[in-house]
């Protein structure tokens, strides 16, 4: 009798283990499954969702968002946050357009104008990153508050230098190269996002800097005691974040063909939504290029689908906000399983 009890008990234990293993992998694979269902769901409403033209469109949109999600992911890994990412994009866009416009009016050659635009964009991005990084790491201000401050500063700068209007004078060559350009039929932004993704992945997984990000995010105090140059790394991280955001801003500016003082409007939220829903943990130390790209794909398919089935833009904002919250809840569920 006791024998039978033990064996039935063991069977019970085995099924329990199996069930918990299934539940665990379900939570981990939740996003790809949701992605697929989302795509199919929209396709049922409107079959055009799966048309080659729309799929290309999704790829392109994902390229832009993936850049910003990667930028946000890098700081989130250190338990940080960059609320000012959107306004940074606006400032970079306006600044680069102004630089190119002045190059054009000074009758410079196209390559000089391009360099002027790229240079101004990255310098502005770097300035934003240095500012954020210094306030967070050296002055010890909470990242949320620090970047809420620089959010407003960047909006102010972008609006002031542009006079609040789109800046004209972005040369066609800029647009042709960074928006219209393709390689084997793949749009420029997808190529750029892929290249950056590969480089960033290598940096995160193979470099001392990348390793330090994860260690700092997991336990900042232990990282300090173990002699990691925490402050220096944090400043570099915000610099990297804004640098990637500047790259994305330049790509977007090529698409609009002008410097837009409100280009980055909802990008802070979108980038965070993508990072978090992709599985980057706001608690720090968890996430990477994969989570950023997956999240960007999800958010893009969602808004693309909502556009096609004609869901109102403001309702879309509600959905996006809800997604950030859902992402955090999902993150906690994942943590609790460990």
């Amino acid at each position: 009798m006791s024998d039978a009890e033990t064996s039935s008990d063991m069977a019970l234990g085995a099924t329990r283990e199996l069930r918990s293993a299934v539940r665990r992998s379900l939570v981990q694979a939740a996003l790809p499954i949701a992605l697929l269902m989302l795509l199919l769901g929209f396709a049922i409403v409107d079959v055009r969702v799966l048309s080659p033209a729309n799929l290309m469109n999704i790829a392109q949109q994902t390229g832009y968002l993936a850049l910003f999600a990667m930028a946000q992911t890098v700081v989130i890994l250190t338990r940080g946050f960059d609320l000012s990412l959107g306004p940074t994009v606006s400032a970079v866009s306006v600044g680069a357009a102004l630089a190119m416009a002045s190059g054009t009016s000074a009758h410079q050659g196209p390559s000089v104008i391009l360099l002027l635009g790229l240079g101004a964009g990255f310098v502005l991005g770097a300035a934003c990153g240095l500012f954020n990084g210094s306030v967070v790491a050296l002055l010890g201000v909470n990242p949320f508050v620090a970047t809420l401050g620089s959010y407003n500063i960047a909006i102010g700068i972008a609006t002031t230098i542009s006079g609040g209007r789109p800046v004209q004078g972005v040369p066609d060559v800029f647009t042709q190269l960074f928006y219209g350009g393709t390689l084997f039929g793949v749009p420029a932004v997808v190529i750029i996002a892929l290249i950056l993704g590969v480089i960033l992945h290598i940096v995160l997984t193979r470099s001392v800097f990348g390793r330090s990000l994860y260690l700092i995010g997991t336990n900042p105090r232990a990282a300090m005691v173990a002699g990691l140059p925490v402050k220096r790394i944090l400043v570099t991280t915000y610099l990297l974040c804004s640098g990637i955001a500047a790259l994305g801003a330049l790509m977007l500016t090529a698409r609009t063909g002008s410097g837009e003082p409100n280009l980055g409007g909802s990008l802070s939220l979108q980038a965070t939504a993508a990072a978090v829903i992709g599985g980057t943990s706001l608690a720090g130390g968890k996430g990477g290029v994969g989570t950023a790209v997956l999240g960007a794909l999800f958010v893009t398919i969602l808004s693309n689908g909502m556009n096609l089935v004609r869901i109102d833009g403001y309702v879309q904002m509600v959905v996006l906000g809800a997604i950030v919250i859902a992402g955090v809840v999902l993150d906690r569920a994942r943590l609790e399983q460990r």
Partner: protein, 512 residues
């Protein structure tokens, strides 16, 4: 069988567990464990980390439902116990991980979930009065209106104990309660335990400290690998018996004989004062080839002294010299480069990144070396090989360096920290409470490791609140009191009496 059961009903034990088993995904944490605790008895649970003590007390306090076995309390069979119900029937646990809310005051924490209220309005005055009476009864030096996150670990421990004793308690569970208490507070706790025993309260007491077991225990139950090994009368069991039962092997001496060979002064501190005032005008030196001990009560500044040397706590005055050359204080990174390493007391808060692998935790202090990284890029293969060798030497069990540090027992976590000592060239080792929260077997290994460091000519500094530990390990012993050095003892002067005396001697001098 049946008649025996009814006959025994009269003086049935307070708690009676039979055949308790508990499995966690694939691992048997408890395997058919029996335990009985009588009213008015102190029953020690003894075993290495991972032996199942924590799981067992979690079962008893209702946190983990057992998979098998019977659970009787006060003669009644108990099913589906929850932590809340356990408290209601008088089972009160004090865990090592505190259950306090950091942002609330001590008294708010005491009454959390059982506030005294009338019609939804809290009766703050009655709660305050009750809290003060209780804390006075316990004799704790604790201000009930302070916020918990402002308290030292010792005071948090007192709050936790007070909280456990607030309601009606029939079975009190104490999990290493003295780990962060001073000798005096420990003394108070022991008095309290004796009083509880005379009141018929049963106690389950988890401790690695032989002295406490000697002083308090009625019976001892030894667990190993989730199994009940034996229950003995404390009076008839020797220390050696217990350790042998616990480890399954013989450990003759807990403290190894350390071959001190004092050489040149490696570390020399002159008139050191820290910004927070915890250390005031301290002169101190450590020689190569010996262990220098620092003893003192909680809060005497002994930790802060080594932390200031390492570069965590800010220095406002005084000088630190290494090998005779004065050095600017500039933080942990520079200290490591100069060959000074610090092993923090709180390994969870300051030592380890728990959700990262052992490998990354051990190489963390050496990422600036060519050995582990070149041109800013890691050398994964070299890292894996180096850390494998280190962990093999430290006898990490199981020897899997890709497991997360958070999955490890206290002893293994300390080994991960010790691994850092072997990843770069170091001459000064500052250990802050090296044996807190680790079992006897692992303690012996830590001491052996220190012995090895001394043999290779390193200067080892051990800061410890455990007097027997610093007395046995150190060649020279400093005693600190209220931020100052109260005594420097060596040779025959290095006795427990002299250490204790110097706490009070200094008091007198200050008053004069």
């Amino acid at each position: 069988m049946n008649s025996l059961g009814t006959a025994g009903r009269q003086d049935a034990p307070l708690l009676e567990l039979k055949g308790i088993s508990k499995r966690f995904t694939g691992v048997r944490a408890l395997d058919g464990v029996d335990l009985d605790v009588r009213a008015g008895e102190l029953h020690v649970l003894f075993g290495e980390n991972g032996a199942g003590k924590s799981t067992l007390i979690n079962v008893i306090s209702g946190s983990f439902p057992p998979d098998e076995g019977t659970f009787r309390f006060g003669g009644e069979e108990i099913h589906d116990l929850t932590p809340h119900r356990a408290r209601a029937i008088g089972i009160s646990p004090v865990f090592q991980e505190f259950s306090l809310v950091p942002s609330l005051s001590v008294e708010d924490n005491l009454f959390l979930g059982r506030e005294i209220a009338a019609g939804g309005v809290l009766n703050a005055r009655r709660m305050r009065k009750r809290a003060r009476t209780l804390i006075d009864e316990l004799g704790f030096d604790l201000d009930p209106s302070r916020r918990v996150d402002d308290l030292s670990r010792a005071h948090q421990q007192m709050t936790e104990i007070a909280k456990a004793l607030l309601g009606r308690v029939r079975l009190l569970i104490l999990d290493e309660p003295t780990a962060s208490l001073t000798e005096r507070e420990t003394g108070r706790l022991f008095e309290l335990i004796v009083k509880l025993k005379t009141e018929g309260v049963g106690l389950i007491y988890v401790s690695h400290r032989m002295r406490e077991i000697r002083a308090l225990a009625d019976r001892v139950t030894v667990l190993r690998d989730g199994r009940h090994i034996r229950t003995l009368d404390a009076a008839s069991a020797s220390d050696g018996d217990l350790v042998e039962l616990m480890t399954g092997r013989k450990i003759d001496v807990l403290f190894p004989a350390i071959p001190h060979a004092p050489g040149a002064v490696t570390l020399d501190v002159e008139n050191l004062t820290t910004a927070d005032g915890a250390v005031q005008g301290v002169n101190f030196h450590a020689r190569a080839g010996e262990i220098t001990g620092i003893a003192g009560l909680v809060g005497c500044g002994k930790s802060e002294l080594v932390r200031a040397i390492y570069g965590i706590d800010a220095i406002v005055d005084g000088m630190v010299r290494l090998h005779g050359h004065s050095v600017e204080q500039s933080g942990p990174r520079e200290s490591l480069r100069r060959g000074v390493a610090y092993f923090p007391a709180n390994r969870v808060a300051e030592g380890l990144a728990l959700s990262r692998p052992i490998r990354e935790n051990s190489s963390m202090t050496a990422l600036d070396l060519d050995r582990f990284a070149r041109l800013g890029f890691l050398r994964p293969r070299a890292e894996r090989r180096a850390i494998s060798v280190v962990m093999e030497r430290l006898k990490l069990r199981p020897p899997d360096i890709e497991r997360n540090a958070g999955a490890l027992s206290g002893g293994n976590r300390q080994k991960v920290m010790l691994g850092r000592a072997l990843t770069r060239d170091l001459q000064v080792f500052l250990f802050d409470e090296p044996s807190v929260g680790i079992d006897v077997g692992a303690k012996v290994e830590v001491y052996e490791f220190m012995k090895h460091l001394v043999e290779t000519g390193a200067a080892v500094v051990v800061v410890s609140s455990e007097l027997p530990e610093v007395l046995a390990l150190s060649n020279r012993l400093y005693v600190m009191h209220q931020g100052r050095i109260a005594a420097e003892l060596s040779g025959d002067d290095k006795t427990e009496q002299n250490v204790l005396a110097s706490f009070f001697q200094d008091h007198g001098r200050e008053a004069a």
